[in-house]
Amino acid sequence: MTFNVTQILETPIGVGDITAGNLMYFVVILVVGVAVARVVSTNVRRALTERLPKNERELLAKLVYYGIIIWAFVVALPQLEFDLSGLLVAGGIAGLVIGFASQSVVSNLVSGLFLMFEHPIKIGDNINVGDVSGSVEDIRVLSTVVKTYDGIYVRIPNETVFTSNITNYVHNAARRFEYQIGIRYQDDANEAIRIAKEVIAVHPFALKSPAPSVFVDNLGDNSVNLTVYIWAPARNWWDVRTDLLWKIKQALEENGIEIPFPQRTVWFADGLEVKGRFAGKNWKEE
Protein backbone atom coordinates (compact mmCIF):
# COMPACT_ATOMS: atom_id res chain seq x y z
CA MET A 1 0.00 0.00 0.00
CA THR A 2 1.50 3.39 -0.98
CA PHE A 3 0.70 6.94 0.18
CA ASN A 4 0.81 9.87 -2.15
CA VAL A 5 1.68 12.87 0.07
CA THR A 6 0.61 15.39 -2.56
CA GLN A 7 -2.72 13.66 -2.90
CA ILE A 8 -3.23 13.69 0.87
CA LEU A 9 -2.35 17.39 1.13
CA GLU A 10 -4.80 18.20 -1.62
CA THR A 11 -7.63 16.33 0.03
CA PRO A 12 -10.50 18.75 0.76
CA ILE A 13 -11.53 18.89 4.40
CA GLY A 14 -15.10 19.74 3.51
CA VAL A 15 -15.07 23.47 4.28
CA GLY A 16 -15.01 25.46 1.06
CA ASP A 17 -11.94 24.70 -1.03
CA ILE A 18 -9.68 24.31 1.98
CA THR A 19 -7.45 21.27 1.76
CA ALA A 20 -5.62 19.32 4.42
CA GLY A 21 -2.45 20.99 3.16
CA ASN A 22 -3.90 24.47 3.74
CA LEU A 23 -4.93 23.49 7.24
CA MET A 24 -1.49 22.03 7.91
CA TYR A 25 0.27 25.19 6.68
CA PHE A 26 -2.08 27.30 8.83
CA VAL A 27 -1.20 25.27 11.92
CA VAL A 28 2.53 25.22 11.07
CA ILE A 29 2.65 29.01 10.59
CA LEU A 30 0.86 29.53 13.91
CA VAL A 31 3.14 27.08 15.75
CA VAL A 32 6.23 28.68 14.23
CA GLY A 33 4.83 32.11 15.12
CA VAL A 34 4.30 31.11 18.77
CA ALA A 35 7.77 29.55 18.94
CA VAL A 36 9.41 32.63 17.40
CA ALA A 37 7.38 34.88 19.72
CA ARG A 38 8.59 32.95 22.77
CA VAL A 39 12.22 32.99 21.68
CA VAL A 40 12.18 36.69 20.76
CA SER A 41 10.31 37.82 23.90
CA THR A 42 12.63 35.75 26.11
CA ASN A 43 15.65 37.34 24.48
CA VAL A 44 14.12 40.82 24.72
CA ARG A 45 13.53 40.22 28.43
CA ARG A 46 17.08 38.93 28.92
CA ALA A 47 18.71 41.70 26.90
CA LEU A 48 16.87 44.41 28.83
CA THR A 49 17.31 42.88 32.28
CA GLU A 50 19.62 45.61 33.59
CA ARG A 51 18.58 48.36 31.24
CA LEU A 52 14.88 48.84 31.92
CA PRO A 53 12.71 48.69 35.05
CA LYS A 54 10.96 45.34 35.45
CA ASN A 55 7.46 46.55 34.61
CA GLU A 56 8.54 48.31 31.41
CA ARG A 57 10.64 45.30 30.44
CA GLU A 58 7.71 42.94 30.98
CA LEU A 59 5.36 45.24 29.06
CA LEU A 60 7.75 45.40 26.11
CA ALA A 61 8.29 41.63 26.16
CA LYS A 62 4.52 41.05 26.17
CA LEU A 63 3.97 43.50 23.32
CA VAL A 64 6.63 41.73 21.26
CA TYR A 65 5.15 38.31 22.10
CA TYR A 66 1.55 39.16 21.19
CA GLY A 67 2.63 41.25 18.20
CA ILE A 68 4.45 38.31 16.62
CA ILE A 69 1.54 35.95 17.29
CA ILE A 70 -0.95 38.37 15.70
CA TRP A 71 1.39 38.81 12.75
CA ALA A 72 1.66 35.00 12.35
CA PHE A 73 -2.13 34.70 12.54
CA VAL A 74 -2.63 37.32 9.82
CA VAL A 75 -0.01 35.60 7.65
CA ALA A 76 -1.67 32.22 8.21
CA LEU A 77 -5.25 33.33 7.54
CA PRO A 78 -5.02 33.20 3.69
CA GLN A 79 -4.34 29.47 4.02
CA LEU A 80 -7.94 29.13 5.16
CA GLU A 81 -9.00 31.19 2.15
CA PHE A 82 -9.91 34.01 4.45
CA ASP A 83 -10.32 37.26 2.57
CA LEU A 84 -8.64 39.84 4.78
CA SER A 85 -10.54 42.67 3.05
CA GLY A 86 -13.75 41.01 4.11
CA LEU A 87 -12.31 40.86 7.59
CA LEU A 88 -12.70 44.60 7.88
CA VAL A 89 -16.46 44.44 7.32
CA ALA A 90 -16.91 41.22 9.23
CA GLY A 91 -14.62 42.50 11.93
CA GLY A 92 -16.87 45.45 12.60
CA ILE A 93 -19.92 43.28 13.05
CA ALA A 94 -18.04 40.62 14.93
CA GLY A 95 -16.54 43.30 17.12
CA LEU A 96 -20.00 44.48 18.12
CA VAL A 97 -21.16 40.96 18.88
CA ILE A 98 -18.01 40.03 20.76
CA GLY A 99 -18.05 43.35 22.54
CA PHE A 100 -21.52 42.78 23.93
CA ALA A 101 -20.76 39.15 24.73
CA SER A 102 -17.52 39.86 26.51
CA GLN A 103 -18.04 43.22 28.11
CA SER A 104 -16.15 42.40 31.27
CA VAL A 105 -13.18 40.94 29.35
CA VAL A 106 -12.96 44.00 27.12
CA SER A 107 -13.43 46.27 30.12
CA ASN A 108 -10.58 44.55 31.93
CA LEU A 109 -8.44 44.69 28.80
CA VAL A 110 -9.00 48.42 28.28
CA SER A 111 -8.49 49.08 32.00
CA GLY A 112 -5.24 47.11 31.82
CA LEU A 113 -4.01 49.21 28.91
CA PHE A 114 -4.88 52.42 30.76
CA LEU A 115 -3.08 51.12 33.85
CA MET A 116 0.01 50.35 31.79
CA PHE A 117 0.13 53.81 30.27
CA GLU A 118 -1.11 55.89 33.21
CA HIS A 119 1.36 54.23 35.62
CA PRO A 120 -0.49 54.69 38.91
CA ILE A 121 1.29 51.52 40.02
CA LYS A 122 4.44 49.71 38.99
CA ILE A 123 5.72 46.20 39.62
CA GLY A 124 7.25 46.11 43.09
CA ASP A 125 5.17 49.01 44.48
CA ASN A 126 3.45 48.63 47.85
CA ILE A 127 -0.21 49.40 47.27
CA ASN A 128 -3.68 49.17 48.67
CA VAL A 129 -6.62 48.52 46.34
CA GLY A 130 -10.01 48.03 47.97
CA ASP A 131 -9.32 45.69 50.87
CA VAL A 132 -6.13 44.21 49.39
CA SER A 133 -2.73 45.44 50.57
CA GLY A 134 0.59 44.14 49.30
CA SER A 135 3.24 44.50 46.65
CA VAL A 136 2.48 44.42 42.92
CA GLU A 137 3.86 41.22 41.39
CA ASP A 138 2.64 41.64 37.82
CA ILE A 139 0.40 43.89 35.73
CA ARG A 140 -1.18 41.69 33.09
CA VAL A 141 -3.47 42.52 30.22
CA LEU A 142 -6.61 41.46 32.11
CA SER A 143 -5.57 41.45 35.74
CA THR A 144 -3.10 42.71 38.29
CA VAL A 145 -1.39 40.26 40.62
CA VAL A 146 -0.69 41.40 44.17
CA LYS A 147 1.30 39.50 46.78
CA THR A 148 -0.08 40.43 50.19
CA TYR A 149 2.29 41.07 53.09
CA ASP A 150 1.39 37.56 54.30
CA GLY A 151 2.73 36.16 51.02
CA ILE A 152 -0.70 35.34 49.58
CA TYR A 153 -1.37 35.56 45.83
CA VAL A 154 -4.30 37.81 44.95
CA ARG A 155 -5.51 38.37 41.39
CA ILE A 156 -7.49 41.56 40.93
CA PRO A 157 -9.33 42.22 37.64
CA ASN A 158 -7.93 45.36 36.03
CA GLU A 159 -11.36 46.98 35.90
CA THR A 160 -11.54 46.74 39.70
CA VAL A 161 -8.06 48.20 40.05
CA PHE A 162 -8.81 51.01 37.63
CA THR A 163 -12.13 52.01 39.20
CA SER A 164 -10.96 51.66 42.84
CA ASN A 165 -9.12 54.11 45.00
CA ILE A 166 -5.48 53.12 44.66
CA THR A 167 -3.12 53.97 47.51
CA ASN A 168 0.47 53.67 46.34
CA TYR A 169 2.72 53.90 49.36
CA VAL A 170 5.94 54.29 47.37
CA HIS A 171 4.86 56.45 44.43
CA ASN A 172 6.44 59.57 45.93
CA ALA A 173 10.14 59.85 46.66
CA ALA A 174 9.63 60.41 50.39
CA ARG A 175 6.94 59.95 53.00
CA ARG A 176 6.36 60.95 56.60
CA PHE A 177 5.61 58.78 59.62
CA GLU A 178 5.05 59.63 63.26
CA TYR A 179 5.55 58.39 66.79
CA GLN A 180 3.74 59.27 69.98
CA ILE A 181 6.12 59.15 72.95
CA GLY A 182 4.95 59.75 76.52
CA ILE A 183 7.33 60.95 79.24
CA ARG A 184 6.78 61.52 82.98
CA TYR A 185 5.50 64.86 84.19
CA GLN A 186 8.65 65.43 86.25
CA ASP A 187 10.93 64.91 83.20
CA ASP A 188 12.26 67.85 81.20
CA ALA A 189 10.37 67.85 77.89
CA ASN A 190 12.94 70.15 76.23
CA GLU A 191 15.69 67.69 77.10
CA ALA A 192 13.61 64.80 75.75
CA ILE A 193 13.05 66.72 72.49
CA ARG A 194 16.80 67.44 72.20
CA ILE A 195 17.71 63.78 72.76
CA ALA A 196 15.12 62.52 70.27
CA LYS A 197 16.37 65.01 67.63
CA GLU A 198 19.96 63.88 68.19
CA VAL A 199 19.04 60.23 67.66
CA ILE A 200 17.09 61.08 64.50
CA ALA A 201 19.95 63.24 63.17
CA VAL A 202 22.45 60.36 63.10
CA HIS A 203 20.15 57.94 61.27
CA PRO A 204 21.18 57.92 57.57
CA PHE A 205 17.67 57.55 56.17
CA ALA A 206 15.84 59.96 58.49
CA LEU A 207 15.92 62.74 55.92
CA LYS A 208 17.79 65.96 56.56
CA SER A 209 15.15 67.81 54.55
CA PRO A 210 12.19 67.92 55.13
CA ALA A 211 13.48 68.28 58.66
CA PRO A 212 12.13 66.06 61.43
CA SER A 213 9.85 67.66 63.96
CA VAL A 214 9.58 66.81 67.68
CA PHE A 215 7.21 68.71 69.96
CA VAL A 216 4.96 68.45 73.02
CA ASP A 217 1.61 67.57 71.51
CA ASN A 218 -0.62 67.20 74.56
CA LEU A 219 -0.68 66.68 78.32
CA GLY A 220 -2.11 63.21 78.79
CA ASP A 221 -3.63 61.47 81.81
CA ASN A 222 -0.40 59.65 82.62
CA SER A 223 2.29 61.39 80.62
CA VAL A 224 3.43 64.42 78.68
CA ASN A 225 2.96 63.26 75.10
CA LEU A 226 5.55 64.12 72.48
CA THR A 227 4.83 63.77 68.78
CA VAL A 228 7.69 62.98 66.42
CA TYR A 229 7.39 63.52 62.66
CA ILE A 230 10.11 62.01 60.47
CA TRP A 231 10.47 61.96 56.69
CA ALA A 232 12.15 58.94 55.10
CA PRO A 233 12.67 57.58 51.57
CA ALA A 234 9.34 55.99 50.60
CA ARG A 235 10.91 52.62 49.86
CA ASN A 236 12.77 52.48 53.19
CA TRP A 237 10.38 54.16 55.61
CA TRP A 238 9.32 50.98 57.38
CA ASP A 239 12.94 50.04 58.18
CA VAL A 240 13.57 53.53 59.51
CA ARG A 241 10.38 53.48 61.57
CA THR A 242 11.14 50.15 63.22
CA ASP A 243 14.78 51.06 63.80
CA LEU A 244 14.39 54.55 65.26
CA LEU A 245 11.64 54.04 67.83
CA TRP A 246 13.70 51.68 69.96
CA LYS A 247 16.81 53.87 69.63
CA ILE A 248 14.87 56.92 70.84
CA LYS A 249 13.46 54.92 73.77
CA GLN A 250 16.93 53.70 74.74
CA ALA A 251 18.47 57.17 74.45
CA LEU A 252 15.74 58.70 76.62
CA GLU A 253 16.19 56.06 79.32
CA GLU A 254 19.99 56.45 79.27
CA ASN A 255 19.41 60.10 80.11
CA GLY A 256 17.03 59.38 82.96
CA ILE A 257 13.83 60.14 81.06
CA GLU A 258 11.31 57.34 81.43
CA ILE A 259 8.19 56.36 79.59
CA PRO A 260 5.63 56.04 82.42
CA PHE A 261 3.14 53.29 83.07
CA PRO A 262 -0.51 54.30 83.35
CA GLN A 263 -1.07 55.54 86.90
CA ARG A 264 -3.80 57.14 88.97
CA THR A 265 -3.56 59.15 92.17
CA VAL A 266 -6.48 58.46 94.52
CA TRP A 267 -7.37 60.91 97.29
CA PHE A 268 -9.56 59.81 100.22
CA ALA A 269 -11.58 62.60 101.74
CA ASP A 270 -11.48 61.08 105.30
CA GLY A 271 -8.13 59.36 105.12
CA LEU A 272 -7.58 55.60 104.66
CA GLU A 273 -7.73 53.05 107.43
CA VAL A 274 -6.52 49.51 106.85
CA LYS A 275 -7.20 46.81 109.44
CA GLY A 276 -5.96 43.25 109.51
CA ARG A 277 -3.44 40.74 110.88
CA PHE A 278 0.01 40.33 109.38
CA ALA A 279 2.82 37.97 110.53
CA GLY A 280 1.04 37.16 113.76
CA LYS A 281 0.63 40.73 115.00
CA ASN A 282 -1.94 43.44 114.61
CA TRP A 283 -0.97 46.52 112.65
CA LYS A 284 -2.77 49.64 111.71
CA GLU A 285 -1.96 52.18 109.06
CA GLU A 286 -3.55 55.42 108.19
Binding site: A173, A174, R175, P204, K208, S209, P233
Partner: protein
Protein backbone atom coordinates in the same frame (compact mmCIF):
# COMPACT_ATOMS: atom_id res chain seq x y z
CA UNK B 1 45.39 51.74 49.87
CA UNK B 2 44.15 52.57 46.36
CA UNK B 3 45.61 50.64 43.46
CA UNK B 4 45.75 47.22 41.77
CA UNK B 5 46.72 44.05 43.57
CA UNK B 6 47.43 40.58 42.26
CA UNK B 7 47.50 37.56 44.57
CA UNK B 8 48.08 38.17 48.24
CA UNK B 9 48.39 41.61 49.80
CA UNK B 10 47.85 43.36 53.12
CA UNK B 11 46.99 47.03 53.56
CA UNK B 12 46.11 48.74 56.80
CA UNK B 13 45.32 52.41 57.24
CA UNK B 14 43.74 53.68 60.46
CA UNK B 15 40.43 51.91 60.97
CA UNK B 16 40.64 50.10 57.62
CA UNK B 17 42.27 46.76 56.94
CA UNK B 18 42.10 45.13 53.50
CA UNK B 19 43.93 41.94 52.69
CA UNK B 20 43.93 38.86 50.51
CA UNK B 21 45.62 35.73 51.75
CA UNK B 22 46.03 32.32 50.16
CA UNK B 23 44.71 29.21 51.90
CA UNK B 24 45.61 26.15 49.84
CA UNK B 25 44.49 26.93 46.30
CA UNK B 26 41.97 29.53 47.36
CA UNK B 27 42.35 33.25 47.91
CA UNK B 28 40.48 34.81 50.82
CA UNK B 29 39.59 38.50 50.57
CA UNK B 30 39.03 40.12 53.94
CA UNK B 31 38.07 43.66 54.88
CA UNK B 32 37.60 45.32 58.25
CA UNK B 33 36.33 48.88 58.53
CA UNK B 34 35.19 50.55 61.76
CA UNK B 35 34.41 47.17 63.33
CA UNK B 36 32.47 45.81 60.32
CA UNK B 37 34.01 42.84 58.54
CA UNK B 38 33.47 41.33 55.10
CA UNK B 39 35.04 38.16 53.73
CA UNK B 40 34.85 36.30 50.43
CA UNK B 41 36.68 33.27 49.03
CA UNK B 42 37.99 33.97 45.55
CA UNK B 43 38.76 31.42 42.87
CA UNK B 44 41.11 33.29 40.59
CA UNK B 45 44.39 32.66 38.83
CA UNK B 46 44.78 35.72 36.63
CA UNK B 47 42.34 38.21 38.14
CA UNK B 48 43.33 41.42 39.86
CA UNK B 49 41.78 43.23 42.79
CA UNK B 50 41.25 46.92 42.13
CA UNK B 51 40.67 49.29 45.06
CA UNK B 52 39.64 52.85 44.29
CA UNK B 53 37.28 55.61 45.43
CA UNK B 54 33.77 55.32 43.99
CA UNK B 55 30.61 57.40 43.70
CA UNK B 56 29.45 58.09 47.30
CA UNK B 57 25.85 56.90 47.03
CA UNK B 58 26.06 53.23 48.06
CA UNK B 59 26.18 53.20 51.85
CA UNK B 60 24.58 52.03 54.01
CA UNK B 61 22.31 50.88 51.16
CA UNK B 62 22.06 51.81 47.50
CA UNK B 63 18.84 53.86 47.28
CA UNK B 64 19.70 56.75 44.98
CA UNK B 65 22.16 58.08 42.39
CA UNK B 66 22.07 61.69 43.52
CA UNK B 67 24.57 63.63 45.59
CA UNK B 68 23.79 66.97 47.25
CA UNK B 69 26.56 69.12 48.69
CA UNK B 70 25.49 71.96 50.93
CA UNK B 71 27.72 74.93 51.71
CA UNK B 72 27.56 78.45 53.13
CA UNK B 73 25.36 80.73 50.97
CA UNK B 74 27.15 82.47 48.11
CA UNK B 75 25.66 85.37 46.14
CA UNK B 76 26.81 85.52 42.52
CA UNK B 77 26.43 88.46 40.18
CA UNK B 78 24.94 88.05 36.68
CA UNK B 79 27.43 86.71 34.14
CA UNK B 80 30.08 85.87 36.76
CA UNK B 81 32.19 82.73 36.64
CA UNK B 82 33.95 81.42 39.73
CA UNK B 83 35.85 78.24 40.51
CA UNK B 84 35.66 77.00 44.10
CA UNK B 85 36.70 73.82 45.85
CA UNK B 86 34.36 71.69 47.94
CA UNK B 87 34.85 68.45 49.82
CA UNK B 88 32.71 65.42 48.96
CA UNK B 89 32.34 62.08 50.79
CA UNK B 90 34.36 59.14 49.52
CA UNK B 91 33.34 55.50 49.47
CA UNK B 92 35.86 52.80 48.66
CA UNK B 93 35.04 50.23 46.01
CA UNK B 94 36.78 46.89 45.60
CA UNK B 95 36.54 45.31 42.15
CA UNK B 96 37.52 41.95 40.72
CA UNK B 97 39.01 42.39 37.27
CA UNK B 98 39.71 39.67 34.74
CA UNK B 99 40.66 40.00 31.08
CA UNK B 100 37.06 40.22 29.91
CA UNK B 101 35.04 41.23 32.93
CA UNK B 102 34.98 43.40 36.01
CA UNK B 103 32.73 42.91 39.01
CA UNK B 104 32.04 44.80 42.25
CA UNK B 105 33.24 42.80 45.24
CA UNK B 106 32.86 45.20 48.14
CA UNK B 107 32.01 48.81 48.97
CA UNK B 108 32.81 50.38 52.31
CA UNK B 109 33.61 53.75 53.80
CA UNK B 110 34.49 55.70 56.90
CA UNK B 111 32.10 57.89 58.82
CA UNK B 112 28.35 58.21 58.72
CA UNK B 113 25.97 58.97 55.90
CA UNK B 114 22.95 61.21 55.68
CA UNK B 115 20.28 61.46 53.00
CA UNK B 116 17.91 64.25 52.09
CA UNK B 117 15.09 65.10 49.71
CA UNK B 118 15.85 67.55 46.92
CA UNK B 119 12.58 68.96 45.58
CA UNK B 120 9.09 68.02 46.67
CA UNK B 121 7.99 64.62 47.99
CA UNK B 122 5.95 64.16 44.78
CA UNK B 123 8.55 65.05 42.17
CA UNK B 124 11.83 65.39 44.03
CA UNK B 125 14.70 62.96 44.39
CA UNK B 126 16.40 61.37 47.36
CA UNK B 127 20.05 62.45 47.50
CA UNK B 128 23.10 61.68 49.62
CA UNK B 129 23.69 64.82 51.68
CA UNK B 130 27.04 66.27 52.60
CA UNK B 131 28.12 69.59 54.08
CA UNK B 132 31.31 71.27 52.92
CA UNK B 133 33.10 74.50 53.53
CA UNK B 134 33.95 76.62 50.49
CA UNK B 135 37.63 76.74 49.62
CA UNK B 136 39.43 78.94 47.12
CA UNK B 137 42.39 76.55 46.92
CA UNK B 138 42.61 72.75 47.03
CA UNK B 139 42.05 71.85 50.69
CA UNK B 140 43.93 68.97 52.36
CA UNK B 141 41.31 66.21 52.71
CA UNK B 142 41.52 62.82 54.42
CA UNK B 143 41.82 60.68 51.27
CA UNK B 144 39.96 57.69 52.65
CA UNK B 145 37.09 59.82 53.93
CA UNK B 146 36.83 62.87 51.67
CA UNK B 147 37.66 64.03 48.19
CA UNK B 148 38.07 67.47 46.63
CA UNK B 149 35.65 68.75 44.02
CA UNK B 150 36.68 71.56 41.72
CA UNK B 151 33.38 73.29 41.00
CA UNK B 152 33.16 75.86 38.26
CA UNK B 153 30.06 78.03 38.72
CA UNK B 154 28.76 80.20 35.91
CA UNK B 155 25.77 82.48 36.42
CA UNK B 156 24.25 82.91 32.95
CA UNK B 157 21.03 84.41 34.33
CA UNK B 158 20.29 88.12 34.32
CA UNK B 159 20.09 88.55 38.07
CA UNK B 160 21.98 88.07 41.29
CA UNK B 161 21.62 84.50 42.52
CA UNK B 162 22.16 83.00 45.96
CA UNK B 163 23.31 79.41 46.06
CA UNK B 164 23.95 77.14 49.02
CA UNK B 165 23.75 73.68 47.54
CA UNK B 166 24.55 71.77 44.40
CA UNK B 167 23.01 68.45 43.30
CA UNK B 168 24.64 65.96 40.93
CA UNK B 169 23.68 62.73 39.23
CA UNK B 170 26.53 60.54 40.45
CA UNK B 171 26.30 58.18 37.47
CA UNK B 172 28.21 60.85 35.51
CA UNK B 173 30.88 61.22 38.20
CA UNK B 174 34.51 60.82 37.16
CA UNK B 175 36.79 60.34 40.14
CA UNK B 176 40.58 60.49 39.98
CA UNK B 177 42.99 59.57 42.74
CA UNK B 178 46.62 60.12 43.57
CA UNK B 179 47.80 61.82 46.74
CA UNK B 180 44.21 63.06 47.05
CA UNK B 181 40.84 61.95 45.67
CA UNK B 182 39.38 64.50 43.27
CA UNK B 183 36.67 65.24 40.76
CA UNK B 184 35.76 68.24 38.64
CA UNK B 185 32.27 69.56 38.01
CA UNK B 186 30.38 72.48 36.54
CA UNK B 187 27.27 74.34 37.59
CA UNK B 188 25.59 76.56 35.04
CA UNK B 189 22.91 78.76 36.57
CA UNK B 190 20.18 79.37 34.02
CA UNK B 191 17.61 81.22 36.13
CA UNK B 192 17.04 81.92 39.84
CA UNK B 193 15.62 78.41 40.30
CA UNK B 194 17.23 76.42 37.51
CA UNK B 195 20.77 75.16 37.04
CA UNK B 196 22.58 72.46 35.08
CA UNK B 197 25.26 70.42 36.79
CA UNK B 198 27.68 67.99 35.22
CA UNK B 199 31.04 66.33 35.79
CA UNK B 200 34.18 66.89 33.76
CA UNK B 201 36.30 63.89 32.83
CA UNK B 202 39.68 65.39 33.70
CA UNK B 203 42.16 64.94 36.58
CA UNK B 204 42.68 67.77 39.04
CA UNK B 205 46.43 67.27 38.86
CA UNK B 206 48.63 65.56 36.27
CA UNK B 207 49.43 61.92 36.97
CA UNK B 208 46.22 61.09 38.82
CA UNK B 209 44.63 57.70 38.06
CA UNK B 210 41.01 57.40 36.96
CA UNK B 211 38.78 55.28 39.20
CA UNK B 212 36.75 52.38 37.88
CA UNK B 213 33.14 53.60 37.81
CA UNK B 214 30.43 51.52 39.48
CA UNK B 215 28.09 51.79 36.49
CA UNK B 216 30.85 50.32 34.29
CA UNK B 217 31.42 47.43 36.69
CA UNK B 218 27.68 46.86 36.95
CA UNK B 219 27.30 46.99 33.16
CA UNK B 220 24.71 49.74 33.35
CA UNK B 221 24.80 51.87 30.21
CA UNK B 222 24.86 55.56 31.11
CA UNK B 223 24.26 58.58 28.94
CA UNK B 224 26.21 61.51 30.32
CA UNK B 225 23.58 64.22 30.33
CA UNK B 226 24.22 65.94 33.65
CA UNK B 227 21.45 66.93 36.01
CA UNK B 228 18.94 69.75 35.85
CA UNK B 229 18.36 71.31 39.26
CA UNK B 230 14.73 72.39 39.03
CA UNK B 231 14.01 73.00 42.69
CA UNK B 232 16.33 75.86 43.44
CA UNK B 233 19.74 75.89 45.07
CA UNK B 234 19.34 77.47 48.47
Amino acid sequence: MFGRYKGTFHREDGDILVEAERNGGLLTYRRRCEGQTFERILVSKTGEIVINPVEPVNLPKDITDFLQIEFSPMVIEPGATQTVYLKFPVEIGVFLEAARDIEVLDIFGLGSQKYTLYGTPTNGVIARWYHSEIYTEVPPPESLREGVMELSIHNTSHGWVEISCVVFDSTDMKIYYGDIVATAATMKIISPNLAETDFIDAPLRPGMVKSVELCVARKIPVIDRGYLMEWGFS
